[in-house]
């Protein structure tokens, strides 16, 4: 899950805004009713949700690349099978999220087109490379961990199809997170080289993972309407803090050191305080200059272009089959 870039405000004026209808809609949302595909909804709500769900789906699909990078090199058959199943789950999440977004009136093909043209975003975390096996542990433990923090509240999202998709996605994500942590435990209990591999991976991933929650609340303009519509239920900073509080003790249990000298436990608030996040890096990576942005998009476009003939064949075959079926009753006469 990867709702990070979702704070981009939809600035398009809502053409046919009807104050009465909007008020009725808001009353339903306030009453915690689920909004379903055929229900009336403000255009801005539809647009915001379409973009959010599509971004979420794109993130699942692009996310298959950095993790898939280790399927053929997983260090044991058990790990290989688990990683293969995990990456397959991400593909499955992508498929149902696209289906959920389609209920809002945009086709999967249109959404894929937007991803390939660069018009749609995916979670920036996947613009970082997976360099060692420990990265697969870290992605499960931290990236999926952060995803779960973001997604659990989405199970109560006002839009029914999205909320229901999230229930299933969250179950699978928590399984992935446990698997990732278990990879980390094996490394932490392993040889000095394995411990070093684990530490080095944490050093690289910790800050980008904190960025997954999006810009600090003071800079996030989108939060207000998303909160009002009950698409979002916690602010970026609230979720980030929850994540840090849950994760730091897990890291210490592994004997790892977080790459943040300012990380301290505040006994008064019972929270872990953390240092300043490098928001310039965040903006740079979102804007396209992360280590792997170009590589990921190139892979996505290549797979689309190289396999166009397969999709054409499937379409042509389906057409032939339909024509044959239609011709049959006539032939029988």
């Amino acid at each position: 899950m990867y709702t990070q870039a979702l704070n981009t405000q939809d600035q398009a004026p809502s053409a046919a805004s009807d104050p009465l209808a909007d008020a009725r809609f808001q009353a339903r949302v306030d009453a915690e009713e689920r909004i379903e595909p055929n229900d009336a909804m403000p255009e801005a709500y539809r647009r915001t949700l379409t973009r959010q769900i599509a971004q979420h789906a794109h993130s699942e699909i692009v996310g298959m690349l950095p993790e898939g990078n280790w399927i053929t090199r997983a260090p044991s058959l058990k790990r290989k099978a688990a990683l293969l199943a995990k990456v397959q789950d991400e593909g499955g999440h992508g498929a149902y999220l696209y289906a959920a977004a389609e209920t809002l009136g945009t086709s999967r093909e249109q959404m894929e087109e937007q991803l390939l043209s660069g018009a749609a975003k995916y979670s920036s975390i996947f613009n970082y490379p997976t360099l060692t096996w420990a990265d697969i542990g870290i992605i499960g433990w931290l990236v999926d961990g952060a995803a779960i923090m973001n997604q659990i509240p989405l199970c109560r999202c006002s839009y029914g199809p999205y909320a229901r998709a999230m229930v299933r996605v969250c179950k699978e994500e928590s399984f992935h997170q446990r698997q990732g942590y278990e990879i980390m435990i094996a490394l932490a209990r392993g040889t000095p080289a394995q411990k070093q591999m684990a530490q080095e991976a944490l050093d690289r991933w910790w800050w980008p993972v904190l960025m997954m929650f999006g810009p600090p609340d003071k800079d996030s303009q989108h939060t207000e309407s998303a909160m009002r519509w009950k698409i979002k239920r916690f602010t970026n900073d609230e979720l980030r803090q929850k994540f840090v509080d849950a994760t730091v003790p897990q890291g210490h249990f592994l004997g790892l050191t977080f790459p943040d000298p300012a990380l301290t436990f505040d006994a008064a608030t019972q929270h872990w305080n953390y240092g300043e996040i490098d928001w310039a890096e965040f903006k740079r990576v979102v804007a396209g200059d992360g280590p792997c942005n170009r590589q990921r998009m190139k892979q996505m476009r290549a797979k689309h272009a190289d396999n166009a003939w397969v999709r054409e064949a499937a379409t042509a075959f389906a057409r032939k089959r339909r024509q044959r079926a239609e011709a049959m009753p006539i032939a029988a006469e």
Binding site: I61, M64, L65, E67, G68, I71, T72, R73, A74, P75, S76, L77, K78, R79, K80, A81, L84, A85, V87, Q88, G91, G92, G94, A95, Y98, W133, I183, A186, L187, G190, T191, A193, Q194, Q299, K303, D306, N307, W309, V310, R311, E312, A313, A314, A316, F317, K320
Partner: protein, 251 residues
């Protein structure tokens, strides 16, 4: 006794499943549509699962304490016993699907027969694999038909794949000294007994796909005695990299 015919036979089955599973896993994230990523994931998982059970059984037969990972990760290519067909590169989607079809059309009836093996463990592994291979066969046959009878381009690619892979099909039906006694003892399956089923499946699917069954010319062989194509070494260099770079570590 360590290097018994039963050990060799079980390794052949295990290596074939692992190498093909590994090949299919290379597609995940790179397929023409998401649904095919999921299908490759499923089929890859089935095959890797079969390999794991077979390796564990082989390790027990051998009795030297080698587990599934010791067998998969710490043998070099000449000790691998898979058939050549499954180590052939994925190529394009048609090449992968046709390879899968040629194998599944064989493996489905083969495991059906192996489910009656006198070796109870092999029989149990085969009984599970039959259900899996039924899906592999259905899925790959549907795609073979779709591609063969799709567009001119997909037809050409599917026919090319069939022609390219054909010389590797006869190895599936070979028997040798290692297997003969096991077949007589009712432990192994005589692959020639499933040949007729394979032929029938092929003729039916290829005709629907408007593809031409290639003529039997010279047939390649050698994988099951450790003489492989150049491709296997590269598969193993990826598969075994982490285990080899960090000897003795557990993961």
């Amino acid at each position: 006794m360590t290097d018994t015919p039963l050990f060799q036979y079980t390794l052949r089955l295990a290596d074939t499943a692992l190498v093909l599973g590994h090949r299919l896993s290379e597609w995940v994230g790179h397929s023409p549509v998401i649904e095919e990523d999921l299908a490759f994931g499923n089929m890859g998982l089935d095959l890797i699962g079969q390999a794991r059970s077979l390796y564990s059984h082989a390790g027990e037969i051998e009795g030297k304490g080698r587990d599934e990972d010791a067998l998969a990760y710490l043998r070099d290519a000449p000790d691998y016993r898979n058939i050549l067909l499954v180590e052939q590169p994925n190529g394009n989607f048609a090449a992968t699907m046709v390879r899968q079809f040629l194998y599944a059309a064989f493996a489905h009836p083969y495991f059906e027969a192996l489910a009656h093996s006198k070796d109870k463990t092999l029989a149990a592994i085969a009984a599970k694999a039959v259900k899996e291979m039924a899906y592999h066969l259905r899925h790959s046959a549907e795609w073979t038909i779709r591609l063969g009878d799709g567009t001119d381009e997909s037809h050409r690619r599917a026919q090319d794949a069939l022609d390219e892979l054909w010389p590797y099909t006869a190895e599936m039906f070979e028997t040798d000294q290692v297997e003969r006694a096991l077949i007589e003892a009712g432990v192994a399956v005589d692959p020639s007994a499933v040949r007729a089923t394979w032929d029938k499946t092929l003729d039916h699917v290829l005709s629907e796909a408007t593809l031409v069954r290639p003529r039997d010319g010279y047939m390649q062989s050698g994988g099951r005695i450790g003489r492989h194509s150049e491709h296997l070494g590269h598969i193993l260099s990826e598969l075994q990299f982490v285990q080899r770079a960090y000897p003795g570590a557990s993961w």
